[in-house]
């Protein structure tokens, strides 16, 4: 018989997550009486100030939603608008959008693994402490992160709020010399990424088995990143335009982020959801490696998220290298666009998961209204559910510090990007 006790744990500021969030946990009589992930990042009202803006301004504005995944916002918006305007991208631009996006996955995932998540598993408070006991691994991670930034620089001139995306393609095209140099670096980084996967796989993690629905974009040709339909692990397969028929957002008064549900249930988006749904699209070399390290997919253990990010780093390096083979500088990096009234909808896979945009446009090419559903809001309900299940599995009788650390580890599995989780419109907004 375990001791029945009452504990209140309050983590006022979550460290090593992007943005501002807090967690309240109340245990009474040996059971969880209250568990709340509170997001108090101040609202920034992006959808509102996009209203009235010209379509050419949108990529530069939506980038500012998140400094860590601006490419996801830019590409999602651009592609939604290109679909509405009937713009057919040059094959060069279509391929380079994926390469550009790979840069962001590499940067964001490596930052998360080394600077945010891994220190937990080595008893370190941060990456600088971790670098004292695992200097080569941390330096390797920072190098990979830097390579992701360089890849974004090629097309966007800088990696935070890059300036290269325009409706119809890119503003400019990198020279062949720069691409050849990048290809050498990507080739050299692949063995480093393989070593990273083996390192990540060797980190002991809790055995946690949970039932949840994974949601990610899916594409018949490849591991979906910058294009695809929306799929779920229960067999759902819908176009982006049908999102609202299956996914609902609601506002809880204790959080500035909205909660999303899929058929009234929490669901998972992000690297592990993607691997669960799309692992058969991984190249043969990486599948052999996963078999070798013993990662069985689909996985129901969210503690495989760090490893999933490492796998996606390898994939993104591989894809960028493959797609830059035979690179040519195009006659023009963009094609012209003519605006058209209507509703632009699109979705892509941001590093943290499914990102969905909807813009109602007038015939002058200005925004009438906008709605953006980022990954963190979609994961928020799942994080709370996971915390409950995972804490019960872990055992509520651990000391408070151990419970707190366990909760933080669970939350960091989702890499919540709280600065972007704050700007939704509720579903039933009446508009004049």
């Amino acid at each position: 018989m375990t001791e029945r006790r009452s504990v209140a744990i309050h983590v006022p500021v979550l460290a090593r997550v992007e943005g501002e969030g807090a967690l309240d946990l109340r245990i009474e009589q040996g059971d969880i009486a209250e568990l709340r992930l509170r997001i108090f990042e101040p609202p920034r009202f992006f959808e509102k100030f996009l209203e009235g803006r010209h379509y050419t301004e949108i990529p530069d504005m939506v980038a500012r939603i998140c400094g860590i995944c601006p490419v996801a916002y830019q590409v999602t918006a651009a592609q939604a608008l290109e679909d509405l305007f009937g713009v057919e991208l040059d094959p060069w631009a279509r391929v380079m959008r994926r390469v550009f996006y790979c840069g962001e996955w590499i940067q964001s995932h490596s930052l998360h693994i080394h600077l945010l998540a891994a220190p937990d598993f080595f008893g370190c408070g941060n990456a600088i402490e971790l670098a004292r006991i695992a200097p080569d691994e941390v330096r390797r991670g920072l190098r990979i992160q830097g390579l992701g930034n360089e890849l974004m620089d090629l097309f966007g001139a800088r990696s935070v709020h890059p300036v290269g995306v325009r409706i119809g393609g890119f503003h400019g095209a990198p020279s062949l010399a720069r691409i050849l140099d990048m290809r050498d670096k990507l080739r050299a980084a692949l063995p480093e990424a393989e070593a990273l996967i083996r390192w990540a796989a060797a980190i002991p993690v809790p055995q946690d088995d949970q039932v949840f629905v994974s949601v990610a974009t899916r594409h018949p040709a490849d591991y979906a990143i910058e294009r695809g339909d929306i799929g779920a692990s229960d067999g759902l397969r819908i176009g982006a335009e049908a999102f609202d028929a299956h996914f609902i957002e609601r506002h809880e008064p204790y959080s500035t982020a909205l909660f999303s549900t899929y058929h009234q249930q929490p669901y998972l988006v992000g690297p592990l959801a993607r691997l669960n749904l799309n692992h058969e699209y991984l190249p043969g070399a990486i599948r052999a490696l996963l078999a070798d390290i013993g990662l069985v997919l689909p996985s129901r253990n969210l503690f495989h998220s760090l490893l999933a990010r490492a796998v996606e780093i390898w994939l993104a390096l591989y894809e960028a290298l493959r797609l830059l083979d035979g690179y040519r500088v195009p006659d023009s990096p963009w094609v012209p666009a003519t605006p058209r009234a209507g509703v632009a909808i699109g979705c892509t896979e941001a590093p943290r998961g499914l990102l969905w945009h909807r813009y109602e446009m007038d015939d002058a090419g200005c925004v009438i209204n906008a709605r953006i559903v980022p990954p963190t809001s979609q994961n928020q309900g799942r994080i709370e559910e996971d915390l409950r299940l995972s804490l019960l599995n872990f055992g509520l009788d651990h000391p408070d510090d151990a419970l707190r650390l366990h909760c933080e580890k669970v939350i960091r599995n989702y890499d919540p990007c709280i600065s972007c989780a704050t700007h939704f419109l509720r579903l039933n907004v009446a508009r004049a």
């Binding site: 090593r16 100030f49 990456a127 600088i128 503003h171 600065s419």
Partner: protein, 264 residues
Amino acid sequence: MSQQTVHPGKPRVAVHKFSSCDGCQLSFLNLGEALLTLAERIDLVHFAEAGPLDPDTGVDVAFVEGSVSTPEDLERIQHIRAHSGLLIAIGACATSGGIQGLRNQAKGAEWVAQIYSHPEAIASLEHSTPISCHVKVDFELWGCPVSGPQILAVINALLLGVTPRDNTDKVCTECKRQGYPCVMVTHGIACMGPVTRAGCGALCPSLGRDCYGCYGPAENANTDALAIQFGHLGLTPAAIVRRFQSINSQAPVFLAAADKLRAG
């Protein structure tokens, strides 16, 4: 009393976040191996995104990202000021109120009600304001985002005991120095370079596109002349207003330019 000089040994440094996208903090986290070198030269006391949490200990230098936009922010920035020797505002949000400052021209309360079903639970001030509206700021680094080299230059200056400097000249000067063809002269593109503060290295013209003013107003910016030029290029008055009302909409020079156009 707050110290006015940087500690001679290993200075204590804090990085604080207010309303923002976290992109300027990334100027630290994207330093790569230089981040580890930096960690040997300074003592990072508080930097929530990187791990260290200690907002209450006094520091020699506090970097502040983000704008003041909630009632709680008003108290927090006073607390930070009182516990910091030097306070350095980094990025567009901290120096001008940022892109979210666009709400200052609108009815913020209505927006809350349109977005949230429990608007009473959302603590948000009517305006998004820069740090200098609330406390004394010792140095400002403009830019959306600020770059790693800008941050390192400031830290190195402080470590060497000299006053940090920032380039207040125009993007045009950087653009010319790089030898990029002027996008306005050669392609008739409405570029904000003539009124925008340097520091990025003229990234947008390097791709053949217009600068959109993300580093805020330059010193002695002639916004009147640029607005006339934009008119000649075919922009409507409303479109010209939007050029000045974007990332740094509440920077006084850009706000005045927009107000003048709106007044007709």
